[in-house]
Symmetry: D3
Subunit: 170 residues, 6 copies
């Protein structure tokens, strides 16, 4: 392992720290994260049916995800508090596969990125779906919580499909 | 869909509600949830190496997961507040597969279960690992957040491997 | 003023205190509170129209109110933390009067009542409607936040319409 | 309803969103909100008397309101987190009418306004008064929670008395 | 070190855990903690003088301490959430020594004690005094944050003055 | 007492306020605070021994302190919310004296200082040590919570050792 391959969240003696970003430039940054909820076709049809009669499953999950994005620095110990300027969450239902695809997009103007905010948003939105569906399908599983894209900061655009290396953390 | 196949978190007109559990018996309940963090063998070896010199990656993730379990009812809109009596989180590192298996166990004596608390604990612990490793591996993915087991309440023991049906939600 | 007419939240020297309820009996308690949002017929029609195409105004307000009920003891300094067993919030729209009537019902099994939880729920739900409608009607006003009914505890049933006296606070 | 008459907090398909303010100019903004607590002359005199012997009713309500202003983005789902630069709350007691008038003023330098912060401050301060007085007057009512004035942003000064139209939301 | 001399908050491999208290008896418990704020005689006289004209220094500190007691399990990672039934905080000013003595008393009926709640209450009350006085005396120091007494639980009464041994943690 | 010797957190009538900092310049600011945990040599040796086998006492305390720094404006009523850019916490163990020295450093770019954030960080880290050691030493005491140094803002560098006067609060 090279020198450059090190945990920025650990000081030289291994202690956790909230990394100093006070000299980093404040730029416009965005991150997109996704997740998959795997349940049964029956549950998806039930959610869709509920939507027709103004059911609230996805509405509740969306609100939960947006509010969780704002709580990211409370939940993730070494995250910096950030004044988010945008949070949106989208759901795509696939009744055949029994699956819900979640996507969250966050923005900030600041010295550090919003990857964790987007990841936290999809995670908590997915957990909220789990909560509301667990009586119907206790085997429901959340998969593929991952970063899709980030822009802004020193490293500019990073996109999951086209990048393979590291060093996305500026 | 039968009558019994309905969302307990929605009232008859589709509005979200925190379900009334005031008449349910207060019993001892436990839930175990798991998750998988998929990264690279290099990152796992780095975490292990840091452990040797008292590095903090897993310690920080463990604390984050325990504290998140206590925040579950703040994060998941329709969860009941519960006075958790136990939270533990375990990690198993597999350097060959580049993988960390997480497991959380929660207990309460109360009228409703702690599935969401255990699921929230592993999710936030995994997100914290993501945060600390994202500069090394921005492609890190969290998979298989799922309930493994629950005990207590009207339905007694539910175990993922041996149960296939629903109705775990009492 | 008689001796009995005193603030239970102030100690004899006038200092605030979280009143000792450790010797009070834990009973099943419920409270219902209401509020009125006064805006314009046009805004109400807009909310109704949004509902038809699965708009989220009331769904967001409902979630906000439920989550706020769980935060009551964080917001109201001298409130006791309580493990709420039920929170529901209902809305009635009146397009002619340009008005939304809110009602919240909370339950707990505990040594003290849930009046403040129900009042906080309707207040924050109403503030959330205000937030989402303020671009349409900055003059929107919230009125008549008040307790309608409480049951449980030493004093039993109290109902706004039929009671005029004090002493509801056990 | 015209095109311009739409909910900025809902995306085109009706889903809730935290509106993107990342391209809005950061300017100095202020908002003033008010509320009325309606109780009995006896309660007001009791609060005044307590003040004489350094009672804490209004002091507790003031602290609660200031702290609540800082929690606004946690309570109102689609509010942006803001670094408030000022919060003050004032009370005017009217023993004859049995009434307390509350006024809160908030300031920020940022891309969006502080209306909800001022409204949340007066609401929670009023709820705190309700909590401390509910044993004396369970019929206490909170009325006229409303915005009085806002300055800053694209639309400049808006004042309740002199403005009747909408479009205050920039 | 004997076997019995071990950290209950660490599992056998050294990982942090929220200790299982699910089999402990729920009893009535109380704890009293104290702290000393050391500043200058001039600052104390200033606080006293402010009190005369209904100043708020101690009132704000008292509210902060009470609210912090309710946040203990959010602040101290391995603390169990508890439904506190009482919190009081007292201040004794000594202008000659330039000192404020703080004392907090907390109660709960539960399976574990409220030592940390009482200690957190005095600590945050003292920090709040520091905040309000730091422009007058940046050298202000907080000393002797310590437990004075605890009752309830398996070990019954523990009192600082008369006990010297350990094992207070049941 | 002179005119200039007054509480900036109190308005002229003695009411608490969150001081207006909207016209203060946003500069880079840092604060360092320290505290001492006084326990027994045996407890210190036990913590050290636990460290050798990757024990978590100081790791948990460090995370708790960092997270508490981010909660400062929630805990201290009149503190302004700040977007901290750095938090670090260090521990020095002295087995002979039975003592742990804590030091926290916080940074922000903003209109007001981070003294309270650094003081809150060491206080909560010390309380967390107390929590984990209280079964071993219920007499553990926290002493000398104090500001050591602050830089930035109108008054520039203030250092505990070399300054004796007041006026550090800009």
């Amino acid at each position: 392992m090279t020198e450059s391959f090190s945990f920025t969240h650990l000081d030289p003696s291994g202690g956790a720290q909230m990394v100093d970003v006070s000299t980093k430039t404040s730029t416009s940054r965005e991150a997109i994260a996704t997740a998959l909820v795997q349940t049964t076709p029956e549950v998806i049809r039930h959610i869709e049916q509920a939507l027709v009669k103004k059911g609230d499953v996805l509405a509740v999950a969306r609100v939960a995800g947006i509010m969780a994005a704002k709580k990211t620095s409370e939940l993730i110990p070494l995250c910096h508090p950030l004044a988010l300027t945008k949070v949106t969450i989208d759901f795509t239902l696939d009744a055949t596969l029994g699956r819900i695809a979640l996507s969250a997009s966050c923005r900030v103007t600041g010295p550090t990125g919003v990857e964790m905010e987007a990841l936290t948003a999809v995670s908590v939105a997915a957990l909220t779906i789990h909560d509301m569906c667990k009586a119907l399908d206790p085997r429901l599983t959340i998969n593929q919580i991952q970063l899709q894209q980030k822009t802004g900061g020193k490293s500019g655009l990073w996109h999951r499909e086209s990048n393979t290396g590291a060093d996305s953390n500026d």
